[in-house]
């Protein structure tokens, strides 16, 4: 190999050395992926829509004089006494549909979106290894899984604090914690939800390798999440329930006890890791052999 000074590029600046050890860090594609994902308007629209949920909840409670105790989502009746409950309520109501919907959009778009725009072929001939691209794409989807529940929680805390008094929070175990610790619990629940969505993201990634129509992969991912939740409701399928990726989605109540019960967090994390492994492998098997014809 010639020294780099002998390889002057089209630009007249020294170019990458032929076949030499990679000079760019392996992280630059990840960085670029995050910038593209969080720089695009669609992602912001999704996050704004998620932020709108606590705002709607808070405003609805604020303008209706009283909430009859025991009606509506859990925590709803406590909001007027403590604004922080807006965050808990909003996170709870966004679990079945809104979070899976937004995650479905992002995860379903990962590979299919690039294929649809045609940029997939240019990424691959750049060259980006297919495995590396898959990992970076999944990392991007995970970053969104992190951002989405945090957005709901923080927007909830903010609007709750703006419209209602904020004070000590009474936990499910009856203990009382101060507001700053309650804010930490909000983040803890957001983390729980992020983990919960990891499996669905892996499913979305896999579905995304099957098609060049991103909307198809997005819709399929959302449908899968709905089906899983429906199956989880059928008592006849009791044996199946612990294997459904949505099984622990609403199990974050244990994080609202004193001391925190980590059982469901651990079971959930294990289950999600299993889904990530299985669907990650499927996505890998599909994508590394796929003809890129778009």
């Amino acid at each position: 190999m010639l020294p780099s000074s002998a390889r002057l590029g089209a630009s007249g600046t020294p170019g990458a050395e032929a076949g030499a050890a990679p000079r760019g860090s392996g992280l630059s594609l990840l960085w670029s992926e995050l910038r593209v994902l969080f720089g695009r308007r669609r992602t912001w629209a999704l996050l704004l829509a998620l932020a709108a949920i606590p705002v709607l909840v808070a405003v609805a409670v604020r303008i209706s004089s009283t909430v009859p105790p025991g009606r509506g989502p859990a925590f709803l009746d406590r909001i007027t006494q403590n604004g922080l409950f807006v965050a808990f309520t909003a996170m709870l109501v966004s679990v079945p549909l809104f979070l899976p919907l937004t995650v479905g959009v992002v995860a379903g778009d990962t590979i299919a979106g690039e294929a649809n725009m045609g940029t997939l072929r240019y990424l691959l001939v750049a060259p980006t290894g297919r495995v590396r691209l898959l990992l970076v794409k999944y990392a991007g989807a995970l970053a969104f899984c992190l951002a989405a529940p945090v957005t709901v929680g923080l927007a909830g805390a903010a609007i709750g604090a703006a419209l209602f008094p904020v004070g000590p929070v009474t936990l499910l175990s009856g203990d009382v914690i101060e507001a700053p610790e309650a804010a930490l619990r909000i983040l803890l629940i957001a983390a729980y939800l992020s983990v919960s969505l990891a499996g669905l993201s892996a499913i979305g990634l896999f579905l995304s390798t099957l098609t060049v129509v991103p909307v198809g992969a997005m819709a399929a991912t959302v449908v899968v999440s709905v089906v899983s939740q429906v199956l989880d409701q059928l008592p006849q399928l009791e044996w199946l329930h612990p294997w459904l990726f949505s099984h622990y989605w609403l199990g974050f109540g244990d994080l609202l006890r004193q001391p925190v019960l980590w059982d469901s967090f651990a079971s959930n994390a294990l289950l999600q890791a299993g889904y990530v492994a299985v669907f990650g492998a499927l996505a890998y098997g599909r994508f590394v052999t796929k003809d890129v014809l778009s």
Binding site: R7, A10, R23, G24, V36, G129, T289
Partner: protein
């Protein structure tokens, strides 16, 4: 230009692109059928063929985007797709038109694609991107979002992407598609200057005239098969020559030519005369033909010996008619 873009002091390989028995099957259809490409280093290689003849499919296999149903590919002397990590950093490509993130600017798009490869030095990224944009005349539109680009601007951006790093091989699939005459000329000049630096250029096109001016070699595809391949002069030589006669006395002229053993055709007829053409096969010599014509009282207004254009040859190889091959 400074140093050779493809300037390895000595190339370690005999052919820049070499395929053996390369085949791609889509269901029942053979999109690419057993082709043996041989592109020598430094060549500007025109890859010709009508729509649907398998050019893009071949290029996809060359670059490892699609797996071959049969056959092998070697690029820069290394096996593809096995050695893509070593090969592709030295290959710039435009495949089936440009494709970009419409919501990003031209510059941001190139940054993204450059970040995709670990072989490109991040330190020089900015300089290389703006240099490439300047090179294709997009400097002023670099900050614009790509969805606001015209077709030709996207095409130029695609070429800029292929030029981001120094390359040994450029694979350009219909690079002048959608370009204005100015842009077409610039692309031609660009290809020439790159070739002068030692870069091998593999350029596909269905417009022969476009390629004819810049290519040193060519190959012709027809319905998935490679029907001709070689240096351009050689391909030209294998074509036939003919005469072209302008005269008011077309009838008499055709009689004379027929008597000389030629097969004249009336190429154009007007009220005051017409054009007669005939293929030449060595005998009689053109000057003798003119002598015979004049002797017979044919009023010769124009007479030319024409080599069959590469275009005619192209049509002869790929078949006439507008329908794309199945």
């Amino acid at each position: 230009m400074t140093g050779a873009a493809g300037g390895r002091g000595s190339r370690a390989y005999g052919l820049t692109i070499e395929t053996q028995g390369l085949t791609k099957r889509f269901g029942q259809q053979l999109a690419v059928n057993d082709i043996n490409l041989a592109v020598p280093p430094g060549a500007v290689f025109g890859f010709l063929g009508p729509n649907g003849s398998g050019k893009t499919t071949t290029i996809r296999m060359l670059l490892g985007l699609a797996a071959a149903s049969a056959g092998t590919v070697r690029l820069l002397g290394m096996d593809m797709p096995g050695k893509f990590q070593e090969v592709l950093p030295h290959v710039g490509a435009l495949v089936e038109g440009p494709a970009f993130y419409p919501f990003l600017s031209g510059t941001a798009n190139l940054h993204r694609l450059d970040a995709a490869t670990r072989h490109a030095a991040p330190a020089t990224r900015k300089a290389r991107v703006s240099e490439a944009l300047e090179r294709v005349g997009l400097g002023h539109a670099a900050g614009k979002r790509v969805h606001a680009y015209s077709l030709g601007m996207k095409q130029r951006l695609g070429i800029a992407n292929a030029l981001l790093s120094p390359r040994e091989l450029l694979v350009l699939d219909e690079p002048t598609n959608g370009l204005d005459p100015q842009g077409t000329r610039e692309v031609r000049n660009l290809v020439r200057s790159l070739a002068a630096d030692g870069t091998t250029v593999f350029v596909s096109s269905h417009l022969l005239a476009e390629v004819e001016q810049i290519c040193t070699h060519a190959a012709v595809m027809s319905a998935g098969r490679l029907v001709a391949q070689g240096p351009l002069p050689e391909l030209r030589r294998s074509g036939t020559t003919g005469i072209r006669l302008v005269t008011p006395d077309t009838g008499a002229a055709m009689d004379v030519l027929a008597r000389l053993g030629l097969f004249p055709e009336l190429a154009a007829a007007q009220s005051d005369g017409g054009v007669v053409t005939a293929a030449l096969a060595g005998n009689p010599a053109p000057e003798e033909i003119v002598a015979h014509l004049v002797e017979a009282g044919v009023r010769v207004r124009g007479f030319a010996v024409e080599r069959e254009s590469l275009e005619d040859r192209f049509v002869a190889l790929t078949g006439e008619g507008f329908d794309v091959a199945q």
